[in-house]
């Protein structure tokens, strides 16, 4: 037992003296992951808040058929904006076109249900492929449910009978979306998320392998003796990492498109829906451009961190925070109503993911796409410039610098003096 304890202590001591273990097992769980979690949930809450704050544009027909209290509630509530369209067919067209979120057609209850005084039916026409329309449907349905509950309880108490079995205020849904539109919506939710993840994974290991991996294998110095300028060597490495990231994203996208139909179609059929997973031909060049931009940024960012690593393990520890940060913008996209606006076109990663999402559902906001391309190219150029600056330092290029990216910035750029005992490569 004493032997085990001695060995156990020895193992722990060794582990705690290994920087990558301390960073990966202690510091990151302690600081990074909670921070990422906090940022993610803050973002999701913010986006949800925006959705909840949206006013549902509703067309109401035959409001006289319902209780005045309910009719008034819908009219005066600041959550609803009543759109006037007297023709029922045109009202449904407004919902299809996205000019209105919901068309409510009230009608007096028929048959035995009419025995209940004031009873009615409501047909809710909405577009399930549009989040805003689906949210408006849910909001109105919830308002009617609440009204029904209160009304039934009041009536039952007045009559001294239970509420069970009362068929009051029935709702009927009428979804105007096509299977293709719903399919596109599902694709637009899933594909950009997996795309970003796969591009990041596609860049992760090559970025380490081409820098820290070379140092660990002893081929870094061999590479330095090649008779080509070092900038070209680094550029070739960067391009190879970006290519692999790009390839990973595109292969995954293609695989998802092929497999999503057999996976989801049976589930949809069980739910009585027919889904079509077809993407617009226009989305192909947009997705290709997106793959290049995203991989270009991920590769450049990862290589800036990886260039400081001397072993594969160090490389993993140094890149992981950046790798995790890449995913944060994507979590904000869980709300399908988040679209590519001019401001969002300037947000790294999110802009490209949104651009791909827009293309998948067949929307092509050219101005925002152009802004996305320009801002991404500028960011990539900035990263490459930063990498070129870092590699001007001889100890970094030959691999004798023993600090991290953060230490490099602190000491070499900000000029801070290290604490006594903290070594830096000669």
């Amino acid at each position: 037992m004493r032997d085990i304890l001695t060995l156990y202590r020895h193992e722990l001591r060794m582990a705690f003296r290994e920087r990558s273990i301390v960073v990966g097992s202690i510091l990151m769980p302690l600081v990074l992951y909670p921070t990422i979690l906090w940022l993610t949930f803050t973002g999701i809450t913010f986006v949800q808040g925006q959705t909840e704050g949206q006013v549902a544009r509703i067309v109401v027909h035959n409001a006289a058929a319902v209780h005045p209290a309910l009719s008034n509630a819908l009219r005066v509530s600041d959550k609803f904006q009543v759109v006037t369209e007297p023709d029922a067919r045109r009202a449904a067209d407004l919902v299809r076109a996205g000019a209105a979120d919901l068309f409510i057609l009230f009608a007096p209850a028929a048959g035995t249900a009419s025995a209940l005084p004031g009873n009615f039916t409501a047909t809710l026409t909405f577009d399930a492929s549009k989040e805003r329309s689906a949210a408006a449907r849910d909001r109105v349905a919830a308002a009617i449910d609440k009204f029904r509950e209160d009304w039934l309880e009041r009536e039952a108490r007045a009559r001294g009978v239970p509420t069970a079995g009362w068929n009051a205020f029935t709702l009927a849904d009428r979804d105007v979306s096509t299977g293709r539109q719903v399919g596109a919506r599902i694709l637009s939710l899933m594909l950009p998320l997996f795309f970003v993840i796969m591009v990041a994974i596609g860049c992760f290991y090559p970025a380490i392998d081409t820098t820290a991996g070379e140092r660990e294998r002893g081929t870094w110095e061999t590479m330095l003796t090649l008779s080509v300028p070092r900038t070209r060597v680094v550029l070739a490495k960067y391009l190879s990492v970006a290519t692999l990231g790009c390839l990973a994203g595109l292969i995954n996208l293609a695989a998802m498109l092929v497999t999503i139909r057999p996976i989801l179609a049976p589930l949809a059929a069980r739910a009585g829906e027919t889904l079509e997973f077809v993407v617009s031909p226009w989305s192909v060049p947009v997705v290709l451009v997106g793959a290049v931009l995203l991989a270009g940024f991920a590769a450049a960012g990862m290589m800036i961190f990886a260039v400081f690593a001397r072993t594969f393990k160090e490389g993993q520890a140094m890149i992981t925070p950046f790798y995790m940060l890449l995913f944060i913008p994507v979590f904000f996209m869980q709300d399908p109503e988040v679209t590519l606006t001019t401001k969002r076109a300037l947000l790294p990663v999110m802009n490209v993911a949104l651009m791909i999402r827009e293309a998948i559902v067949g929307r092509l906001p050219w101005l925002q796409i152009a802004l996305t391309v320009l801002s991404s190219v500028a960011l990539i150029a900035l990263c490459i410039r930063a990498a070129a600056f870092i590699l001007r330092f001889e100890d970094v290029i030959i691999g004798s610098y023993s600090g991290s990216f953060g230490q490099f910035v602190s000491r070499r750029i900000l000029g801070r003096t290290p604490k006594r005992g903290a070594a830096e490569g000669a």
Binding site: R217, G218, T219, E221, T222, L224, T225, L226, S227, V228, P229, E394, I398, P418, A422, A423, E424, A426
Partner: protein, 257 residues
């Protein structure tokens, strides 16, 4: 004869946060001519590797100049590397390439004429007896085989200048002797060779001129015969101690071999 390598007052200072300013090389001067093996003989940390790394443009000198085939190591590093083959224990091979791919890659990337690469690779495979495992990945090769591939990749672009930084470190006796033989063959082909070692017998056997380096400075530089003459010692080991640790030096016995 024009020197292939010249080094003048070459200096390298590292800034170490623990030790402060470290003068790894402190005013090194020497020349190496075609068909000559110039030996840098020194203990570990004497400044041999730093000097050779500066000549091969891996490191930049803090002061001083050096040229390789007339090209300045600071202002024309690519041209220097094009005329240079650098071999050291720390320049490993790419494990995922085959032996043939390795030689071909180094010939191509170092500017060997594209239309002659296939013939050059074939000749090197033949010369170093790599044929049987030319299609095997480097990580599957034994250390002796790797050594041959490594020499072949060093000379793949047929450079006129070769630098060998402690090439026999970690090799068994047979492989070390093979290495020495290959280096001697390169000399016979007219290449200028700088060879660093701390093994006296190697320097004695191979080098036309020997520079004894210690603390970043060259303490003596001449032919073995002249060094014997100057110190009165026969064995290079004694000559080395004579310059590096004069207080421990054996009494001179007369330097004639």
């Amino acid at each position: 004869m024009t020197a292939s390598i010249t080094a003048r007052a070459l200096q390298k200072v590292f800034i170490d946060e623990g030790r402060g300013e470290v003068r790894a090389v402190d005013g090194v001067d020497f020349e190496c001519r075609p068909g000559e093996i110039f030996g840098l003989l020194g203990a570990n940390g004497a400044g041999k590797t730093t000097t050779l790394r500066m000549l091969s443009t891996i490191l930049q000198p803090t002061a001083g100049t050096a040229t390789v085939m007339g090209h300045d190591i600071v202002t024309q590093p690519e041209l220097v590397r094009r005329h240079l083959g650098f071999y050291s224990a720390s320049t490993a091979l790419y494990p995922r390439l085959t032996a043939r791919e390795t030689i071909e890659f180094f010939a191509r990337v170092n500017g060997y004429p594209a239309d002659r690469i296939a013939a050059r690779v074939g000749a090197l495979v033949e010369r170093f007896g790599i044929g049987a495992y030319a299609k095997a990945r480097v990580d599957k090769l034994s250390s002796g085989m790797k050594q041959k591939v490594s020499i072949a990749r060093t000379v793949a672009h047929d450079p006129p200048v070769l630098i060998f930084d402690e090439p026999t470190v970690g090799l068994d006796v047979i492989n070390a002797l093979d290495m020495q033989q290959v280096i001697a063959e390169f000399r016979a082909e007219g290449k200028a060779i700088v060879f660093s070692t701390h093994i006296m017998s190697e320097a004695e056997r191979l080098c036309d001129r020997i520079a004894i380096i210690n603390g970043g400075r060259i303490l003596a530089c001449d032919t073995l015969a002249a060094l014997r003459e100057a110190t009165g010692h026969r064995y290079l080991e004694d000559i080395f101690v004579h310059f590096v640790r004069p207080e421990q030096a054996m009494p001179a016995t007369g330097g004639r071999a």
